[in-house]
Amino acid sequence: MVAGLKRALRKHNAFILSLPALFWLLVFFITPLLLVLVLSFMSRDITGRGTLPFTFEQYERVFTTFRPVFVSSINIALISTVVCLLIGYPLAFYIKTRRSDAVRNLALFLVILPFWTNFLVRTYAWRVILGQSGPVNTTLLSLGLVDEPVIFLNTQFAVIVGMVYTFLPFMVLPIYASVERFDFRQVEAARDLGANDWHTFWRVVLPQTMPGVVAGCILVFIPAIGAFITPDLLGGRDGFMIGNLITRQYKGTGNVPLGAAASMVLMGAVMLSLLVYIRFTARQER
């Protein structure tokens, strides 16, 4: 009897060991997710909470009334990702190609340094920097480039600036990791075989650093599309994003089922981009 139990235990060792994790996922991930899913198909009662009957109304509204919010969110997230890439890719190469270890380590340290300060504080700092009488406007005015202060705050532009600033390390670090693995003599090999700078970059350097680029883009795009603090503080009405839409539904007398539906759609978009990522890396591995 005891021996039989032991054998059974040994046989299902892996399953037993993963029980705590499975339990955790079930309680804190799958259950809430299912709740949100169910909620998203419910109607709104007068206090803003979900109630029966089930309906597609929330999804309808997400795809009609709030479609512009999704479009502009995807826009902002995409532009932020591209700008991060355009800054981060050369930066990773710049750091990698420094001769001295000290300079390289210092540069990497500077990339990570902002994480040491509270995110909210840093975002508020951008309010000051981009403000009517902030350093950017003062400089522009004193140089005579503009006649009156430029309105940066509460625009999509300010949101993009804030996001690029916040997420740049997530772009630089994975790219740096793949640049680190890149064998620079391949540049010479390509040139030796008749490739000019342009062809060397597109056919030899970029393909081999692509995993870092893709990882960086995913790591920036996913948090960017769901961001709500940055657009809240810097975007105003113009920079209103999905994140803000969802928060608003859950706070006060909003529309919880609508928020749930928007969350599901957002999650769908994120999963779609992850799928792209997995497909891409699978192709690289082969």
Binding site: Q186, E188, A190, R191, D192, L193, Q208
Partner: protein, 373 residues
């Protein structure tokens, strides 16, 4: 064999020193002429400037001063991708994200060769290096020897005017290296392309090259056929780097007809051939070199037979080792120790002489050479 292929004229390459140190002259004003169809070796220890010289020809480095001329054309300002040369890199530098076929086709694609023609030529290049059946594999799935062949095919498919090889066999094990040496040599003879290769392995240079340039500290010390370099080394460095040599220190007594007589102590003096333009005068301290296998050893019971062409001096055996093909003796002659190598044959079996035995050592006069230090 008489057309000049590559020429370096007073070529200098300096690298900036680190942290306020002086600039380093990796290549110090070298002159070098390589002819069409040659298999040419740049030989020297690490840091001698041989790889930098190769990179100057390839176009990865620009000379600080002086010229690099390929096929009669000045290469100053001509980037690597426009030079009629291709390189086989030390660790091959194959493109890991491409298949073997794509690697070999890369250079043709860059040259705008159409796809079908490129495939045909790449396939025949792979056949040439003996790898027709691995086109779809990736470099990391190949053995070192196979990678080496792919690198060779990738460079040769471009039909370069000159093929540069940077320690091409350095990463292979000894057996494979020997085989590749012979294959490379045969391939070069068949294709008729000028090969310039860099190596620190003197045996490899001797086996493959028609001519060798021995380099040290950014200078070319001597250029010549393998046998010239071996038989008539000009400097102590060359004699020491190529093969094994005995060095005898002494004082030059007098010279006559390019033969110097050198006092090596204990009232023993030996004649030594002086290389051209040797500046030593009577009274100078000089070094004489003799190869161990050119020295014979003879018992005292055999009558001495020195004559005009043969040198014979007394000595005493201090050590004797049997090492299979040869027996090595160390013989004390005057204040010097001479290593003598005697091949073990059916007629002359090893260990014929014992330590402490008094012997004659003898050699043909032309084997002892005065060196430039």
């Amino acid at each position: 064999m008489s057309d000049v292929k590559v020429q370096l004229v007073k070529t200098v390459k300096e690298f900036p020193g680190r942290r306020g140190e002086d600039a380093v002259r990796a290549v110090d004003s070298i002159n070098l002429t390589i002819y069409d169809g040659e298999f040419f070796a740049l030989l020297g220890p690490s840091g001698c400037g041989k790889t930098t010289t190769l990179r100057l020809i390839a176009g990865f480095e620009q000379p600080t001063s002086g010229d690099v001329i390929i096929d009669g054309e000045q290469m100053a300002g001509v980037p690597a991708f426009h030079r009629p040369v291709n390189t086989v890199f030390q660790d091959y530098a194959l493109f890991p994200h491409m298949t073997v076929m794509q690697n070999v086709m890369f250079g043709l694609k860059m040259a705008g060769v159409d796809r079908r023609e490129a495939e045909r030529r790449a396939a025949s290049a792979l056949e040439l290096v003996g790898l027709p059946n691995i086109r779809k594999r990736r470099p990391r799935e190949l053995s070192g020897g196979q990678q080496q062949r792919v690198a060779l095919a990738r460079a040769l498919v471009k039909k370069p005017s000159v093929l540069l090889l940077d320690e091409p066999l350095g990463a292979l094990d000894l057996k494979l290296r020997r085989r590749m040496q012979i294959e490379l040599k045969a391939m070069q003879a068949e294709l008729g392309i000028t090969f310039i290769f860099v190596t620190h392995d003197q045996e490899e240079a001797m086996t493959m090259a028609n001519r060798i340039a021995v380099m040290d500290q950014g200078h070319i010390l001597q250029i010549g056929r393998p046998d010239e370099i071996y038989e008539t080394p000009r400097t102590r460095f060359v004699a020491d780097f190529i093969g094994e040599t005995n060095f005898l220190q002494g004082r030059l007594l007098h010279t006559e007809d390019r033969v110097g007589v050198v006092d090596i102590g204990d009232d023993v003096s030996i004649p030594a051939i002086m290389p051209e333009r040797h500046a030593a005068r009577a009274g100078d301290d000089v070094t004489v070199a003799i190869r161990p296998e050119r020295i014979a050893i003879q018992g005292m019971d055999v009558p001495a037979s020195a004559d005009d062409s043969r040198v014979m001096v007394r000595g005493r055996v201090t050590e004797a080792y049997y090492i299979g093909t040869d027996t090595r003796y160390v013989v004390r002659v005057a204040s010097a120790s001479l290593t003598v190598r005697v091949q073990n044959t059916d007629y002359q079996r090893g260990m014929g002489f014992k330590p402490q035995q008094a012997v004659y050592v003898l050699w043909e006069k032309h084997n002892a050479r005065l060196l430039v230090d």
